[in-house]
């Protein structure tokens, strides 16, 4: 299959790329694992593709003091296997290893995954749970966007036309911080029925702070605020985790489709939230 016609431009610098994107009908092409299928099936068409894969040095992972900085072109596969990511923010590698299949992960990038902002993409909830900061660059300069402001709606982010996501910054895992990424999916090429990113700060038996973010069960990735509030400051128990699951499932807004009915998705979500809280709690050093 051929995508609709476009002009192809592969700049060598980010300056050239943002310049090219001032064209109304231009679109960034990264790993192409979301964009090319859309173009091939003619759900979208653009006059110009700006392939940013030839810009050197956009695929880094740097650990500095308290933060990890990730270049947008770091592939999902590289984040799965990168030793620094595994060590300093293992939630990212745990989620990466569950995205699509190894071949798609070899091409797909973290920048593309968050910028695409499919409600079923796995990196958006991870970024929310970690309070990531995004740096966007355009002709008029750079700005920083918090994860909570970044994911606006289905396939819609806070990036303006002409902006390129230039860097992602996440804090390194703190002592006593437990994490878990869990998702339910059917086939390897399928998107999830529901997915949960969970980060807990644990002290003794108490959950001091909770960040639980969800994918696939709403029009965009979002924090399960009520579920987080329900467990924060409390002593862990399995029933507490289950209650949080019930709350998240009640608040979610899943749609019935070929992956399952609305009711099935709510139940799956409730279980995933419960299980991910338990896992994160144990990884945070909590005892059962």
């Amino acid at each position: 299959m051929y995508p609709p016609e476009f002009e192809y431009f592969a700049p060598n610098s980010i300056e050239e790329a943002v310049e090219a994107l001032s064209n109304e009908d231009a679109k960034v092409l990264a790993g192409g694992q979301s964009l090319l299928p859309l173009l091939k099936s003619r759900f979208a068409a653009f006059g110009k593709l700006v392939d940013i894969s030839r810009i050197a040095g956009l695929d880094y992972v740097k650990v500095e003091d308290e933060a990890i900085r990730i270049g947008p072109m770091a592939t999902i596969a590289s984040l799965e296997s990168n030793g620094d990511v595994q060590r300093f923010q293992p939630l990212i590698s745990e989620a990466a290893s569950q995205i699509a299949d190894p071949l798609v992960r070899n091409m797909g990038t973290i920048g593309g995954n968050v910028s695409h902002s499919d409600p079923a993409n796995d990196m958006p909830p991870v970024m929310l749970a970690l309070n990531a900061k995004f740096t966007a660059i355009s002709k008029s300069g750079e700005r920083s966007i918090d994860a909570e402001k970044f994911f606006v709606d289905s396939f819609q982010t806070a990036l303006d036309h002409g902006e390129i996501l230039k860097e992602i910054e996440v804090p390194v895992r703190r002592a006593g911080q437990g994490y878990s990424y869990m998702k339910l999916k059917k086939g390897s090429a399928d998107f999830s029925v529901a997915a949960v990113a969970c980060v807990l700060d644990v002290s003794g038996k108490t959950i001091k702070r909770a960040r639980i973010a969800l994918a696939s069960v709403s029009s965009k990735a979002e924090i399960a605020n009520d579920a987080c509030r329900h467990i924060e400051g409390k002593e862990f128990s399995e029933s507490l985790a289950e209650e949080a699951g019930t709350i998240a499932a009640k608040n979610a807004d899943p749609q019935s489709d070929s992956y399952g009915s609305e009711e099935y998705k709510r139940r799956a979500l409730g279980m995933l939230v419960k299980d991910s809280i338990i896992k994160a709690y144990i990884r945070g050093g909590g005892s059962i």
């Binding site: 299959m1 995508p3 699509a100 071949l103 091409m107």
Partner: protein, 167 residues
Amino acid sequence: MKKITVKMEVNGKEVEREIDPRMLLATFVRDELKLTGTHIGCDTTNCGACTLLLDGKAVKSCTVLAASASGKKVITIEGISKDGTMHPIQKAFVEKHGLQCGFCTPGMIMTSYWLLGKGKKLSREEIRKYLSGNLCRCTGYQGIVDSVEYAAELMESEKAREKARNR
């Protein structure tokens, strides 16, 4: 639409073509280079029949622009045998019944080629995980996993033999 020039190394040979920028890499190797071993099954990034190596990594070539591959190294199924001798992975697929109709096989073998090139020892479970982007509608996968396991052994003993020869 304006044509563009792409240049890349395919199976060790430099190639250069003028193409429509929207041509996908799978179509490029099949139609432009007549390397029809790379199959197009789904054409929607699901089946992995179109798998080849791009700069050493296995990717689905129906979902990569030929333009994006310009300047890079490509290895297709035609590039892994040497002087008419099958690669150990190919031999293993024959011996362990890793194929029936054979449509998925080039993709299965290219993913395995990438995977076994890492030189890690793999469990059956890991092999299955790595092959999760390659679909087969005939074999039920058992024979494919057997083949990859056996291929790893063949490659291991080939390496040992080579070492002994060089000593």
